[in-house]
Each structure stands twice: as structure tokens, then as C-alpha cells.
């Protein structure tokens, strides 16, 4: 019984990747998203940040041209460079806010899902209260109270998102915690922390990945809308929402100022949603073909 016939082994993630590749929309999302992320990471290498701030009044409000791909804004700044550098803020706000709300949601969601009881009741009623406040309103209040800068913007957005994560993670854990293999793990002498980390979380990771990509898209939008309202990133720093807000003044003479930042927001969130959809299908074993 030597290696004359090799058994092909499929890792779980290899299998998911294989199914994900089949979905054209998901691959489109993945490619677009990768371009955005790579552009954001290497923005400084491509064109230095100072260019994004350099004013050149004589060439203000020009349309797209070979020299200025997306045209110029009201101060004659190159819009392409501003969107490129704006992506660093918009994307990182979306990602960091998602990661931090996921982290907090994971701690509380796992604890209440696993232990249940009175603790579950108390935490979930607090989450109900939090989610009763409209997310944008709450973020507005937090930013207004703490002052508008990037860190406060991230805090404001994250807090509003925590209840959703807690609820989703709790539900996912409740679906797993009573299964026999968890009882078997208890019978093997594993402690609570170990059971949560090694036995429960790997089983709900599919739900989490999907939820995380979708949430990132939503939070990029929320960050942009808060910046649009003048909370969060302030001019002259470029950020997609802030760019849109600046473009409002010149909506008639220079509509491209709205179109390009708007496109950036649409494309990035669309690609995240498409990727999230594709991942959900790829991770769902019931759709296995």
C-alpha cells in the first residue's frame, strides 16, 4: 500500500476556495477589492500625500484629462490623488471599526451564548437598548461629544455596530453549544475557554467571515456619511465622504467631483457585498455540489 494511488485530500479552506472561484460575481468583488486595498497600501509610493493637498487655483474645476485623470476640485487639487489617499482613510476606518466591533461582539456573544442564564439576559437587554438608538444618530452623538477625528469616528461607528455582532455570534453559538461533540469535549476534560476557542469558534467561522465582509461595506458607507456631515475626517484631509461634501458646492459646474468619489464608495462596498455573498454560498455545506 505505497503511494501508487494517492488519495486527494481537500482541506476545508481549499474546498471553499474551489467553490468561491466558480462564482463570477464573487471573483469580481475579490479582484476590485484587492485593487482598492493595494492602491490604499501603496498610495504613498505611487503619488506622495503632499500632491493631494497642493492647491493650484488657476486650474480649478477642470474636467477629466490625461494630466488629471479625474479632473481637479475647487482649489485646483488633483481629484484622482485625493481619492487615492482618501481610500486609505475610508477603507481603514471601515476595516478597523469592523474588527473592533467584531472583537467586542465576539467576547460578549461567546460568553452569553455559552453561559446563558441571567448574564445572557442582562447583556442582551443592554444590546437591545443600544440597538434601539439609530446607528447614525448614536455615532453623531458620540463624535459630537468626543470631538471629530479619525479615532473618535472609529469608536462611534464601532459601538453602534456591536449589538448586531453580539446577537449574530450568540445565535451561532447557541446552534453549536448543545451538540454532542461539545458534550464529548466536556467528557474529555476540556475547560470552558478551550471548548469555546477550539471547538465552537471554528464551527461558526463561516457565519463570521460573511458577516464581517458585509459589515465592512456598511461601515465604509457609514464613515463616508458621517464625514459628509462634517463629523470625522475634516478638510483638507481627503476622505471619500468629505470629498462628496466638498463637491456639493460645485454640483452644477463640475459634476465629476461628485461622480468619482461616489463611484469609489459604490465600487468598494459593492465588491465587499459581492464577495460576502459568494463566501456565504461557498461556506454553506448544504449548497455543496
Amino acid at each position: 500500500m505505497k503511494d501508487n494511488f494517492q488519495v486527494k485530500r481537500h482541506g476545508k479552506f481549499k474546498e471553499v476556495w474551489r467553490r468561491l472561484k466558480k462564482s463570477k460575481t464573487a471573483m469580481f468583488g475579490l479582484v476590485v477589492l484587492s485593487i482598492f486595498i493595494l492602491a490604499a497600501i501603496f498610495a504613498e509610493l505611487l503619488i506622495p500625500y503632499s500632491v493631494a493637498l497642493k492647491q493650484n487655483i488657476p486650474i480649478r474645476l477642470q474636467g477629466p484629462s490625461a494630466e488629471h485623470w479625474f479632473g481637479t476640485d475647487g482649489y485646483g487639487r488633483d481629484l484622482f490623488v485625493r481619492i487615492l489617499h482618501g481610500s486609505r482613510r475610508s477603507l481603514s476606518i471601515g476595516l478597523i471599526a469592523t474588527a473592533s466591533s467584531l472583537f467586542v461582539g465576539l467576547i460578549f456573544g461567546a460568553a452569553v451564548g455559552y453561559y446563558g442564564g441571567a448574564f445572557d439576559n442582562v447583556v442582551m437587554r443592554i444590546m437591545d437598548t443600544l440597538s434601539a438608538i439609530p446607528a447614525t444618530l448614536m455615532a453623531l452623538a458620540i463624535v459630537a461629544a468626543l470631538g471629530s477625528n479619525m479615532v473618535n469616528l472609529i469608536i462611534a461607528i464601532s459601538i453602534a455596530r456591536i449589538p448586531a455582532f453580539v446577537r449574530i455570534i450568540r445565535a451561532a453559538i447557541l446552534g453549536v453549544v448543545d451538540l454532542e461533540y461539545i458534550e464529548a469535549a466536556h467528557a474529555g476534560g476540556a475547560g470552558d475557554f478551550r471548548i469555546i476557542m477550539t471547538h465552537i469558534l471554528p464551527n461558526i467561522v463561516g457565519t463570521l467571515i460573511v458577516q464581517t465582509t458585509m459589515t465592512t461595506a456598511q461601515l465604509i458607507m457609514r464613515a463616508a456619511s458621517l464625514s459628509f456631515l462634517g463629523l470625522g475626517i475634516l478638510p483638507p484631509e481627503p476622505e471619500w465622504g468629505a470629498l462628496l461634501s466638498e463637491a456639493r458646492e460645485f454640483m452644477r459646474p463640475a459634476p465629476h467631483l461628485m461622480v468619482f468619489p461616489g463611484l469609489a464608495i459604490v465600487l468598494s462596498t459593492l465588491s465587499l457585498n459581492l464577495l460576502g455573498d459568494g463566501l456565504r454560498d461557498a461556506l454553506d455545506p448544504r449548497l455543496k455540489s
Binding site: G116, G189, A190, H199
Partner: protein, 330 residues
């Protein structure tokens, strides 16, 4: 020979919810010596699994409660141990084989990792990675699975193979006591026979004591040394395998149990099952729990709970044996 591995005494377990109290296990006592196998037989809901879980102290936290009694493992009282010490015992000195192999393995962890987990949890020898790997190979070979399959996931195994993996996990730390909770119910008959033969063989080789929980009298006959028949949370008859299977005197319920299985040697048109259902465990009858279904029910049965009557090691809880020759009150 007679080293006491497990001694359960006067065990009483209830499940308490806001609405009702379920009397799941009432006053059970039994003991198990090294290398012996005890079969616990009974209908669904009789309290078999509850008894097993209580030995590991894994009853549902919010509802299950051990009201009184004692469970001693090698002389050590388990019921008063702190949770941390209990965790050291689970999987190491007392291991459990669960009913359904399809659901008792974690689907996203490779089987090798699931075996090595229990080893590293109990500090197997000196926690060196190579030693644990070696031991994983060893136990896999022990249950007849090739060690190069240890990187595979549970869904790549058949039901019988999965049950072997579970047995491998249970035996990895060479426990003193193995609790098998209907280990073959979810398997088909040919695989059942294989798995049973393997369990018996390994148990003999390792000198492990075992509690075999089942509703299948055939399995009991094949694997056990001692038998305990449980009804409505009470052990109504206990004895050696010979006493239960070959003895003349039985509790009416045991008679009914044997009457419910087909006999190859005697030609009958119909089986004779026990009439009626198990009593509602939230509202158990007074006196003997079996009295409402018993064909020999007397007046005393509905009023006074029968004591155990003994003939050598054979113990029967029934008023019928009060004046029978050779039987005396325990």
C-alpha cells in the same frame, strides 16, 4: 482481582424546572471491580444516561441536580471534588463513548488533532509533541485505523470508522473506567458486531472497567459480567450475567423484557411485550414503580416500596420474593 473501581451509593438525581420536578434516578447503588463490565439495561427514559453523566458530573447545569448519594472512583468521592480536579478526571480516568458517532466528533477538527487534544489536556507523559504524535498513531492502530489517516476530517470516515475514532479518543489516556452510552445504537448490525468485539478485546487487553449502557439485551449477553436492570430510575434487579440470563427467578419487569425479544428456539406467533408505558417521572406511583403494569401486582405493591431481596449476588426489588425460599431481605 476485586479492586473497587467505582462505587455508587444511594444516588438520587432530579431535573428541576420552574414547572416540574423530574425524578430521574431514585436511590441507585452499584459497584464495579477492576476489569469488570456492568451492563445497565432499561427502556428509554429509565435514567440510564443520567446515571452515566452523573459519574462524570456532566448533568445539565441549570436543571440537573444530584440530591443525595455518593460516587466513589478508586475510593475518591467525586461529588465533592472541585470542578478543576473533576476536569482532570474526565477523559483521563473516566472516559465516555457517546451514542451517535456522527455527531460526537467535531466536524472542523482533524481526527488526529481530536485525539491529541485529550492527550495534551491530561499532560500525557511529558507533553513533547513527538511523543503525543506517537501515541496518537499508537491508539489509531489499536482501533484498526491506519495512522496516515489522522489528518483527515470526520466527514471522510464512515459511521463505524468514526465510532472507532471515538473509542480511540476514549482509550487514549488508558482510563480506569469506560462508560459506553449505547455505543452501537447508531450503527448497522455488522458494524455493531465489529465495534463490540473491538471494545471487548481492548477492554480485556487494557484491564479497563466498563459500564455498558444499552437497551439491547443481546449486547449485554455478549459483553457484560454483571447486569443491572433499571426501571423508572430504580435498579429493580441486579446480578451476574448468568443470574440474569440463566437464573429462574426474576423481577416481573425483567421477565417482560425477555418476553419482548424474539427467541430463535421457541416457535411463537407473537411476542409478548409489557403492556402500558413507563410511569410519568414527574409523578411516580406510590409503592413499587412497576405496580401499574405488573401482572402479579398485589395490594402491598401499591402502598409500600419493596426492599431488595438477595440470593447470593442476585438482588431483586419485588414483594413477590418476600416468602420465597432462598431469598432474604438485603
Amino acid at each position: 482481582m476485586s479492586e473497587r473501581v467505582l462505587e455508587v451509593k444511594d444516588l438520587e438525581i432530579i431535573y428541576k424546572t420552574d414547572l416540574e420536578t423530574v425524578y430521574a434516578v431514585n436511590n441507585i447503588s452499584f459497584s464495579l471491580n477492576k476489569g469488570e463490565t456492568l451492563g445497565i439495561v432499561g427502556e428509554t427514559g429509565a435514567g440510564k444516561t443520567t446515571t452515566a453523566l452523573s459519574i462524570l458530573r456532566l448533568l445539565p447545569e441549570r436543571t440537573g441536580r444530584i440530591k443525595k448519594g455518593s460516587i466513589k472512583l478508586m475510593g475518591e468521592e467525586l461529588l465533592s471534588l472541585p470542578e478543576g480536579r473533576m476536569r482532570e478526571i474526565r477523559g483521563d480516568r473516566v472516559a465516555m463513548i457517546f451514542q451517535d458517532p456522527m455527531t460526537s466528533l467535531n466536524p472542523v477538527i482533524s481526527i488526529g488533532d481530536q485525539i491529541s487534544e485529550v492527550l495534551s489536556l491530561h499532560g500525557y507523559r511529558d507533553e513533547k509533541k513527538e511523543n503525543i504524535d506517537q501515541r496518537v498513531d499508537e491508539v489509531l492502530r489499536l482501533v484498526g485505523i491506519s495512522p496516515d489517516r489522522k489528518k483527515d476530517y470526520p466527514h471522510q470516515f464512515s459511521g463505524g470508522m468514526k465510532q472507532r475514532v471515538i473509542i480511540a479518543i476514549a482509550l487514549a489516556c488508558e482510563p480506569d473506567l469506560l462508560i459506553a452510552d449505547e455505543p452501537t445504537t447508531a450503527l448497522d448490525v455488522t458494524i455493531q458486531a465489529q465495534v463490540l468485539a473491538m471494545i471487548r478485546d481492548l477492554k480485556d487487553r487494557l484491564g479497563t472497567s466498563m459500564i455498558m449502557i444499552t437497551h439491547d439485551l443481546g449486547i449485554v449477553a455478549e459483553t457484560c459480567d454483571k447486569v443491572a436492570v433499571i426501571y423508572a430510575g430504580e435498579l429493580i434487579e441486579t446480578g451476574t450475567l448468568e443470574e440474569i440470563f440463566l437464573g429462574k427467578d426474576h423481577h416481573p419487569y425483567t421477565v417482560g423484557l425477555f418476553g419482548s425479544i424474539p427467541n430463535l428456539k421457541i416457535k411463537t406467533r407473537r411476542l409478548s411485550p409489557i403492556g402500558g408505558l413507563m410511569p410519568d417521572p414527574t409523578n411516580l406511583p406510590k409503592g413499587c414503580k412497576f405496580s401499574p403494569r405488573c401482572p402479579h401486582c398485589m395490594e402491598i405493591c401499591c402502598q409500600i416500596e419493596p426492599p431488595g431481596y438477595l440470593a447470593e449476588t442476585h438482588n431483586i426489588k419485588c414483594h413477590l420474593f418476600k416468602e420465597k425460599a432462598g431469598w432474604k431481605q438485603a
